[in-house]
């Protein structure tokens, strides 16, 4: 759109390909635009999400495998009944999930995976606060810190 197409370095905002070169534009995808926030902060946010999701999926899949081997998912109407009703084997605390998982209890491993998943977006906010603080973006460090405080407040209010 702008005439800056000769600058190919990825951090120029409007570095877009020359329209005549349709087959292989000079800069495509993410590199066509500069990171809106600081690049290391953006990368850290992306990785915090990716790592959280990966750990959680590993735990869930490991737990599911253990459950299958142990026959918890095994067919039959008796099991179906427990799946479709509210029952008490659900670990409700971090501690219960941890001890269960340490004993190789399948459902507890899955529960731990779910907990890691729940924590992932919250960790992402923490990473944002630290990241913005490190690159001295005071305004956004303050904004994300406020989000974190409000989030903690809502967790406190609703668990009371």
């Amino acid at each position: 759109m702008s005439a800056e197409s000769q600058s190919v370095k990825p951090d120029s905002v409007a570095a877009i390909s020359n329209q005549t070169d349709v087959s292989e534009p000079a800069v495509r995808g993410r590199d066509a635009v500069r990171s809106q926030i600081s690049e290391p902060v953006e990368t850290a946010i992306g990785w915090s999400l990716r790592i959280g999701v990966a750990i959680s999926m590993l735990l869930v899949l490991a737990g599911a495998a253990v459950s299958f081997i142990g026959g918890i998912y095994g067919g039959g109407n008796a099991r179906r009944h427990t799946l479709t009703s509210v029952h008490v084997v659900v670990p409700q605390t971090l501690g219960a999930a941890f001890t269960g998982a340490a004993h190789g209890h399948g459902p507890a491993l899955i529960a731990l995976g779910c907990l890691v998943l729940i924590l992932t977006p919250i960790v992402r906010v923490v990473v944002s606060v630290l990241g913005f603080a490190l690159v001295k973006d005071r305004l956004y460090a303050a904004i994300t810190l406020l989000v974190l405080l409000l989030l903690s407040a809502s967790l406190l209010v609703s668990t009371l």
Binding site: I45, V86, A111
Partner: protein
């Protein structure tokens, strides 16, 4: 894929198709929303589709809204709320349909948006070009986000259906940016409610686990697909979902 989280599909599917208890279905759907958000967000952040500044600035409004919603929950009739929000969604759908061109020129200047450095650009593979856009009406957007947060707190929904129209109609973000930014934001609100559901024992690992894996895979696929679709198509899909959810809320309210 549309910045919603998929909660609206998971609950009816689990209860109707598998006969799973509604409480556990809602618990699993909250997990699904967190999985969708986090799973797709990393891809969207990498592609620089998400407007991270808009997301973080508006999270203040949504989380405050969710806090209010949780605090006043029970004081307001849920059926009345459902009717009000159902009507709001259908009006929002009409508004989004009217803005079909998805144009971002002639955006009124906004001092607050300048100060918060919200303006940005993204690369659109469907158009093969960089799309630069300006953000406007930040206070109006923040108020709508507050309502969106309160609605999710009160009605137990992800709130994406309210967040996307707020960013689209008030702040004039391109539709791909508003859907990916909404997707980024819903993780935080959903995680807060998910923690509460977990503490109550509403999240059964044997149900939520497979649901999380499934929605995560779906979210990854959706995240690959979305950038390639045309903005107009994304908008049309979103309008259809808005109308359906709006009608469903009206039906629940009446």
């Amino acid at each position: 894929m549309l910045g919603l989280g998929g909660g609206i599909i998971v609950v009816p599917f689990l209860t109707l198709a598998f006969g799973i208890n509604i409480r556990l279905a809602i618990g699993a759907s909250i997990i699904a929303v967190v999985a969708t958000s986090s799973g797709a967000a990393s891809a969207y952040v990498r592609e620089r589709l998400t407007n991270l500044r808009v997301a973080m600035a508006l999270e203040v409004a949504t989380v405050t809204g969710a806090l209010t919603g949780a605090a006043i929950g029970g004081l307001i009739s849920v059926s009345l709320l459902s009717i009000v929000f159902g009507i709001v969604l259908i009006i929002a759908a009409a508004g989004m349909l009217r803005r079909r061109a998805d144009r971002n020129d002639e955006v009124p200047p906004s001092r607050l948006a300048d100060k918060l450095r919200l303006h940005s650009a993204y690369y659109d593979p469907a158009r093969g070009e960089v799309v630069r856009y300006r953000v406007t009406h930040v206070p109006a957007g923040a108020v709508m986000m507050y309502v969106a947060g309160a609605a999710s707190g009160l009605l137990g929904i992800g709130g994406g259906v309210f967040k996307v129209p707020a960013m689209d109609l008030a702040m004039r973000l391109p539709v791909k940016v508003s859907t990916t930014t909404s997707n980024f934001m819903i993780g935080v609100t959903a995680a807060a409610s998910a923690a509460i559901y977990f503490g109550r024992g509403d999240i059964d690992p044997l149900i939520a686990g497979p649901v999380a894996v499934g929605t995560l895979l779906g979210a990854r696929a959706g995240a690959k697909l979305l950038p390639k679709l045309s903005g107009g198509l994304v908008r049309m899909l979103f309008v259809i979902v808005l109308v359906l959810v709006g009608l469903e809320m009206l039906r629940q309210g009446i």
